[in-house]
Amino acid sequence: MTTHATQAVTLPGSLNEAVAALAAMPAAVPVAGGTDLMASVNAGLLRPAALVGLGRISEIRGWQYQDGHALLGAGLTHARIGRPDFAALIPALAAAARAAGPPQIRNAGTLGGNIASAAATGDTLPVLAALEATLVIAGPGGARREVPVSHLLAGMEMLSPGELIGFVRVPLLHAPQTFLKATGRTGPGRALASVALVLDPARRGVRCAVGAVAPMPLRPLEAEQWVASLIDWDGERTLVPEALTAFGEYVAAACIPDAAPAPDGTQEQLPPAVLHLRRTVAALARRALGRALS
């Protein structure tokens, strides 16, 4: 039984048609995999007057190469991203996509949808943040503009009405990357915390982002710079275990800081659940770096 009667569904065949359809029906809502949107509709929380389905836009369902970058279509599903050929290109994004829920969700849910939903627990988001990915946004009249993914997630730049995320530009780093996620169970579940870590040998950098502990992925920039300075980029690229542990704790303290001391100088202890979260982030960051360097 469906209790929702949506008036109009448009199925454009190209990105420009989709943007035009949104311009023609300002009340319409774009839908790709629908794994978030339709759940809200079925729960009676949303009643979109019209839907613009993005499933038939073949140009955003694959990827292409562009001067050292991959231009990923926003309509790529998690299932597609998780496959071995994609994993050879951007291993951390593939790992995040494989960890993103049960097969039914991965078959439907898309990369662009994960970004647009911008849930704190979105699994691909810390990877995109660590990769410093850029969004290619399609606007009316064939207009394209580029926005760093972190700007969109932080709310510094927003999608304007009628705009769609078309592509995600991601650098191809040709170096180890990891994505690790802690959940409450063995089966698929939302992240309690996640860490994405990529090595960038060309720029001699380590980039790391922590997901699920804040409304958007967090970048521990100082910890990144510190650990990158320890690595012998021209040699073995290994670190002693103590350095890995210190990196984990550095990342965790940056993302889950102690409460500011009270005016009288006393320091309030973090609640046990928050301390556990911090320990979890530390363990994930340590393991992520260890695996990337092994």
Partner: protein
């Protein structure tokens, strides 16, 4: 109505298994697999209206006014009802006697029903329900059961629902070794995948028919009739397909408004609950706080158990009194304890109501007494299984209630079986990348941080109602034209009753084709479907009725040949005498007649617990021992249950495949209670009422389940000698998982579900690693 459209039998290709002891498949299995089995949500009637229920957003509030004007005026709305439109009174003595249909002056829990709407479209009904203006004066909720004793009464009946001070033996006895602990058990939800739904159809005589997935049709009918101000005969409950029941169905906050709306509008009214409403409406497992002190001698023999057990009943009493009786009576577990002082309370709070979820009371205390046994073993330096064996209960021992255990109680045999079963191998020969580690296949698990632990849990439950409940069931067996039909108001809740009924009749009458009639309240009562009742009382009634039909069938033949009916046997559609001289077909003997018989089964009576918690309160007991093997990532605190080895006291195996399925389902529900299932209600508000927030075990969370032994020691007082099998594995498995996590981490693990921070080991001197070295 589509209720007659029950499953079509699978195509007969080879002789199907038949009779008791065979794995007869359920008749509806095919339809359920193919998705064509009709549940209540699939019902339809011409011209039906849709209902919606307005629920309180507050856990505790005074209702200052309810204004339904706007809702009534909305186009398409046919009726809006509130507490003023409930003509009848509560049914005294019923488990819902203290609970209004709609809140009138006070709201006592988040999600309590306040008004209901019938409209021509479900959207209209929901919008109209939202348009009912309720003015609340929000009150401070009482959410901590310990605060409930001193709080203002939340209900005219007061906050204390029941108090049992059980005193057994010498209160001054002390042991050489004493261990203490405090334990907390969370709120498990029965979380049925099929949410509540129903259809009410008014009758020309002014009565109403309720088509609902009830598990206690006559109880629900009596309750509804009292509330509707009608005689019970004018309310008929027709049971639709029940989408699985591990607790009571259906919830009264759906079914009572449904019938009232049908009576008010004169039209059929349908209601299907959303997932959120489902979580808000039905009863949950009792969150429990337990304090224990065990005394033992130097050899580890238990001397005395002292315990305090506090059940959070939520806003209404429901079945809390029965749950408390079970918790107090089984507080020491299946161990011989000469002296016991157990004090139990069930109190009201502004949390969602707790009620019947299988193994209630017994599950909570099992987690606590097994934790105490682990503590005791550690303190004495004895192997935990050995300590349990030294104290194991057997037939002839006495429960702390003073009742002698007369049924088979093979506790030592069960524990021995799981202890001696070979442990699962470490995955040494598979590449590390393929190990299924805590956290799952794409998780963060690291072999070097994983510790393996082994633990034990032994559960016990009572079967049938306790403390003087009149347990009775009535069944009719009809044979005509080579087909037998069973008419019995025992509801198939997934426990397999209809399959069992077919097997019983096949065995007794030698007729392979047996149908089980759909259930409604025009049939004689069979009682609620819980605590393994129907295998016992309804199965017993079916057997007696079938035997009476058998006598009717064989009497003329026996008379003709001058022999007793006992010397004749029926098999494969043929009647033969013991010496093989006489042989005729059943069809011939029937001679076109129709044979009917009705019989009742009523087990021996029980008595209520007295002022000291003493009394023969239970008809029968069932036991189950589980050995859990877990892997714990000691840095992240993530737990994966690797294997559960189960040995169970089943009396007699009636259907091997179905029995295994019940045990597997039960232990998996227990794994949920141990690790993930906890409906959180901060400040009385239900949080995350959905299957993303409320994490049921998935196939990846379910461990390998090894049924290593089924002890078939027949219970002589039970029909067929069989014991109920569904509840006791649920009781034992959380305790076993917690025990194994304790062994893996050395942490106390005194709270269920086990939170990751309780399974983290921060000091470096942890036990041996799982790694391949």
């Amino acid at each position: 109505m589509s209720d007659e459209a029950t499953a079509t039998a699978p195509p007969v290709e080879e002789p199907l298994p038949h009779g008791l002891g065979a794995s007869l498949p359920p008749a509806e299995a095919r339809a359920k697999t193919e998705g064509t089995f009709p549940y209540a949500a699939d019902l339809w009637a011409e011209g039906l209206l849709w209902a919606a229920v307005l629920r309180s957003p507050h856990p505790h509030a005074r209702i200052l006014s309810i204004d339904t004007t706007h809702a009534r005026e909305m186009p398409g709305v046919r009726a809006v009802i509130t507490h003023e439109d409930v003509p009848g009174a509560p049914l005294p003595g019923h488990r819902a006697a203290d609970r209004p249909v709609f809140a009138s002056d006070v709201v006592r829990h988040h999600g309590e029903a306040i008004a209901a709407v019938a409209a021509d479209h479900p959207d209209t009904a929901r919008m109209a329900a939202a348009a009912v203006l309720v003015e609340y004066e929000v009150l401070e909720p009482v959410t901590d059961p310990e605060q409930s004793f001193a709080a203002e009464p939340l209900h005219p009946d007061g906050n204390l629902i029941r108090h049992i001070p059980l005193r057994h033996g010498d209160q001054d006895a002390v042991g050489e070794i004493v261990v203490e602990g405090q334990y907390r058990i969370g709120r498990q939800d029965p979380a049925p995948i099929g949410a509540e739904a129903g259809l009410a159809v008014p009758r020309p005589d002014g009565g109403v028919e309720l088509y609902i997935a009830s598990t206690d049709p006559h109880g629900d009918r009596d309750l509804a009739a009292a509330r509707y101000g009608l005689e019970p005969e004018r309310v008929k409950v027709v049971v639709t397909g029940v989408p699985g029941a591990t607790g009571d169905r259906e919830d009264q906050s759906f079914q009572l408004p449904l019938g009232l709306l049908a009576l008010r509008t004169g039209c059929p009214v349908k209601l299907t609950a959303t997932r959120e409403e489902s979580f808000l409406g039905h009863a949950h497992r009792h969150p429990t706080l337990l304090r224990y002190r065990h005394h033992a001698d130097a050899e580890g023999k238990l001397v005395k158990v002292e315990a305090q057990i506090l059940l959070d009943a939520g806003a209404y009493a429901d079945t809390s009194s029965e749950a408390l009786a079970a918790a107090v009576s089984f507080a020491c577990g299946p161990y011989v304890v000469p002296h016991a002082f157990i004090e139990g309370w069930a109190v009201r709070t502004n949390n969602p109501p707790s009620g019947h979820v299988r193994g209630e009371g017994a599950l909570q205390v099992c987690a606590a007494y097994e934790a105490q046994m682990d503590k005791l073993a550690k303190k004495l330096g004895i192997d935990p299984a050995e300590l349990r064996l030294r104290n194991a209960m057997a037939t002839g021992d006495v429960l702390p209630t003073g009742q002698t255990v007369t049924c088979p109680a093979p506790v030592a045999e069960l524990l021995g079986a799981v202890r001696d079963f070979p442990l699962p191998e470490l995955p040494r020969d598979t590449p590390e990348a393929d190990w299924l580690l805590p956290g799952g296949p794409e998780g963060a698990g690291e072999p070097g941080a994983v510790r393996r632990g082994v633990g034990y849990g032994i559960g016990m439950v009572h079967m049938l109602g306790a403390e003087g409940t009149d347990e009775v069931s009535t069944a009719t067996v009809k044979v005509h034209d080579g087909v037998a039909t069973v008419i019995c108001a025992a509801v198939e809740t997934g426990q397999g009753f209809t399959t069992l009924a077919r097997q019983i009749v096949q065995d007794t009458l030698g007729i392979d084709e047996v149908q089980v009639a759909p259930v409604d309240t025009d049939q004689p009562p069979a009682g609620p479907g819980c605590r393994g009742r129907h295998t016992w009382v309804s199965g017993g009634a079916v057997e007696r009725a079938a035997k009476m039909v058998r006598t009717q069938l064989l009497q003329p033949l026996a008379h003709k040949f001058g022999m007793s009916t006992e010397l004749l046997q029926i098999a494969d559609g043929k009647i033969t005498s013991y010496d093989g001289v006489l042989s005729t077909t059943v069809t011939e003997a029937m001679d076109g007649k129709e044979l009917w018989a009705t019989a009742q089964c009523r087990p021996h009576p029980t008595e209520p617990l007295d002022a000291d918690g003493q009394g023969d309160a239970f008809v029968g007991l069932a036991f189950c021992a589980i050995r859990a093997v877990v892997d714990v990532d000691i840095e992240l605190g993530s737990v994966r249950v690797v294997e559960l080895a189960v040995a169970q006291d089943v009396g007699r195996v009636l259907n091997p495949v179905q029995l295994a399925a019940r045990i597997e389902a039960g232990v998996t529900q227990g794994v949920g209670a141990a690790l993930t299932e906890n409906l959180r209600t901060p400040r009385g508000l239900v949080r995350h009422p959905d299957f993303t927030g409320y994490a049921l075990p998935t196939s990846l969370d379910a461990p390998d389940i090894r049924i290593v032994k089924l002890v078939e020691e027949r219970d002589v007082v039970a029909p067929f000698g069989a014991k109920a099998a569904s509840a006791v594995p649920v009781v034992a498995s959380p305790a076993a998982v917690a025990s194994a996590v304790r062994a893996a981490t050395g942490r106390p693990v005194n709270r269920l579900p086990i939170r990751p921070q309780a399974a983290v080991v921060t000091n470096a001197s942890a036990p041996a690693m799982v790694s391949t070295d």
